[in-house]
């Protein structure tokens, strides 16, 4: 029977970060991934935040499959046929080392996994972990769907992504609440490199991100996004699962409508669809976070709800939690200490000291506020867009009257106390 220092379940960014860090410190690591190869199960097209990866593989820029570095961020608030928004573009983002990149997850995860294997991790694919093996309250190994499938370790790191069945089965994790997860659908649309660059006004290697909020989600709590890759565009939309359930809007139809928005359509025109995927994102934030470690086990990445939904940051929290979990294990091992719940608590304090918990704490009220106040996704986008149109239409009306008309439109639909209360709620949630 095989026994390892550590078993890592899952080969997404969090599992790879953990496995890499552990093996680099000389621990024996077995990593188990159910996909055909690492990345095969992962939603394509994403933003990579350099910092988190740089702390694990400093030279990643020379090797990793990266698409474009981002030099411009657009934030759009959409009405049915218009948008109002801001664009921020800076040549500072063209200074090396670049800060954010677009990537294709299938390729990126595969590369990351090769690095992990080079560190000496035994990476096993096409194998599903079905159960945690317990000795009393302590996790001592995992059971897989293969014959003679039991393997043992001093510590098991759960990096199995959103909706961790293992954590649920073991009772570490309650059933996911549909109000705490978003369902996102996205597509990769193929376009020649020249079209991407001319449509988005960028040079070779440079990229643009568009974040969208408003009518595209048809009143549901959610956002849309668009990223430019080397010769394709990632476009997608995600809303809370509970809202999809309530509104009974098929997700693909939502995306189809979004693609037909007059501001979006010309950007993606002629794009050949390469890939359509749907995936859950844990967006419950700090309030929905499960217990993250116990006797012989730890949770990292999506399975621990480590996602900052407001900034659409996930992979960087995944990598950071993976690395911090690994560092906790390495330190305990070096000190000759056991992986008990009490000793592993230092994982929590490492997280508290990092941006991970600080950011999640900052936005802990966000999900609740947005849930209770759908006007942020419907009424306000409409009001803002109408205001812009009123001001920009030259029709003989004087500007003062126009201003009054705009103000009236706001108070009419939200009332003055309503407006004040909305502003207060936003301020509280973002504080």
């Amino acid at each position: 029977m095989e026994k390892f220092d550590c078993i890592v379940v899952g080969a997404g960014p969090s599992g790879n970060a953990a496995a890499y860090t552990l093996a680099k410190a000389g621990l024996s690591v077995l990593q188990i991934e159910r996909g055909e190869y690492p990345g095969s199960k992962n939603v394509q097209g994403a933003i990579l935040y350099s910092d988190a990866l740089e702390r694990i593989i400093p030279e990643f820029r020379d090797e990793a499959p990266l698409e474009r570095h981002i030099i411009e961020q657009r934030m759009w608030v959409l009405d049915d046929d218009s948008y109002i928004g801001t664009h921020y573009r800076s040549d500072a983002f063209n200074q090396k080392p670049y800060n954010r990149y677009t990537i294709l997850r299938a390729q990126f995860d595969k590369w990351f996994s090769e690095k992990v294997a080079q560190q000496g991790v035994l990476v096993i694919c096409e194998t599903t972990v079905t159960d945690l093996i317990m000795d009393g309250k302590r996790v001592v190994g995992v059971r897989t769907d293969r014959e003679q499938g039991e393997v043992f370790a001093d510590i098991v790191i759960l990096a199995d992504g959103v909706n961790s069945l293992l954590a649920k089965k073991a009772g570490f994790h309650p059933e996911l609440n549909p109000g705490d997860v978003a369902l996102a659908v996205k597509e990769i649309l193929f376009l020649p490199q020249e079209s991407v660059e001319s449509r988005f006004n960028v040079n070779e290697g440079e990229g643009v991100v568009i974040e969208m909020i408003g009518k595209i989600t048809q009143g549901m709590m959610g956002t849309g996004f668009l990223y430019t890759n080397q010769e394709s565009i990632t476009i997608g939309v995600g809303c809370m699962l509970s809202d999809f359930k309530k509104e009974r809007i098929p997700p693909y139809l939502l995306l189809e409508r979004m693609k037909n928005h007059p501001a979006i359509k010309p950007l993606i025109q002629g794009g050949e669809m390469k890939e359509y995927t749907a995936h859950l994102i844990p967006e419950g934030g700090l309030r929905a976070m499960p217990q993250i470690c116990g006797d012989g086990w730890m949770i990292v990445g999506d399975s621990g709800m480590f996602v900052n939904a407001v900034h659409r940051e996930g992979s960087n929290l995944a990598m950071t939690t993976g690395r911090l979990a690994a560092e906790t294990v390495i330190d305990l091992k070096r000190a000759g200490k056991d992986f008990t719940s009490a000793n592993l608590a230092s994982y929590r304090s490492r997280l508290d000291d990092s941006f991970v918990m600080k950011d999640l704490a900052k936005y802990r009220d966000m999900p609740g506020v947005f849930h209770a106040n759908p006007q942020f996704f419907t009424t306000y986008p409409e009001l803002l867009n109408n205001a812009a149109r009123t001001m920009l239409t030259v029709d003989g009306g004087d500007k003062k009257s126009k201003e009054r008309e705009i103000l009236r439109s706001f108070t009419r639909s939200r009332t003055l106390p309503g407006l004040l209360s909305d502003a207060y709620k936003m301020w509280r949630a973002l504080r």
């Binding site: 055909e36 190869y37 390729q107 035994l122 096993i124 003679q148 039991e150 189809e256 050949e272």
Partner: protein, 282 residues
Amino acid sequence: MLHIVVCIKQVPDSAQIRVHPVTNTIMRQGVPAIINPYDLYALEEALRIKDKFGAYVTVITMGPPQAENALRKALSFGADDAILVTDRAFAGADTLATSFALASAIGQIEKNMPVDLVFCGKQTIDGDTAQVGPGIAKRLELELLTYISSIESVNAAKREIVVQRRSEGGVQVLKTRLPSLITMLEGSNEMRFATMPNMIRAAKTKVSRWDRVAAGIEDVSNIGLKGSPTVVSKVFAPSPKTVKAEMVQTESNDPQDLAASLLMRMFTKFPQVREEIARSAN
């Protein structure tokens, strides 16, 4: 103990190959590599012989360094040893040069442990020639058995093997002596599910890498592009489909409405269908 060598090849998964919509060339990027499916029948058959009669199974492939993944997979199914024959000098090989290189490498394997059986798939899905197996047999003077659908028995002591071979008229039952080379037909067996200990062993095993010299080849004129007389006179892509799928949508999304909308569209496009239906209804 019987010694079986299984030749495998890593090929792009043809089910997942896409054609570049603009340039019409094959997009290899992102296409997963798999073991040539026919080779899996060969490997499984070898492993079954191992289970029944006891055998040492060596898998071999000639290919780029990434082909190591295919060998590792073969190890996880239960092969005992794996050899990757890899050298820039092999690049551009056709079936003649490939069979030369593999035969030479098997000759080297034999120096450590005599080989009783060589297994190959019927053909590869990326080349479809079915020439490499016979090429190896001829060079190593092995009894050649192609398109084999099952192995009836192997007698190591009498050095005999009995196989079933599918032919046009029916099934031939053939007996021959060892050493022989067998190319396996598809559908003859089903690859096993690797056990966890074998998965771990495969991940741990160091795959041997043989360059040209280790494979016993001194003269480069028989390998790679130089040893490949095949001439590819033309490559063309079939013209892509110009008809695109249409999406049927209605406001309500009600199945009834959707069906009605679909029928309406069909009738407008193909009036003869409508007439046909009307006629048969009368």
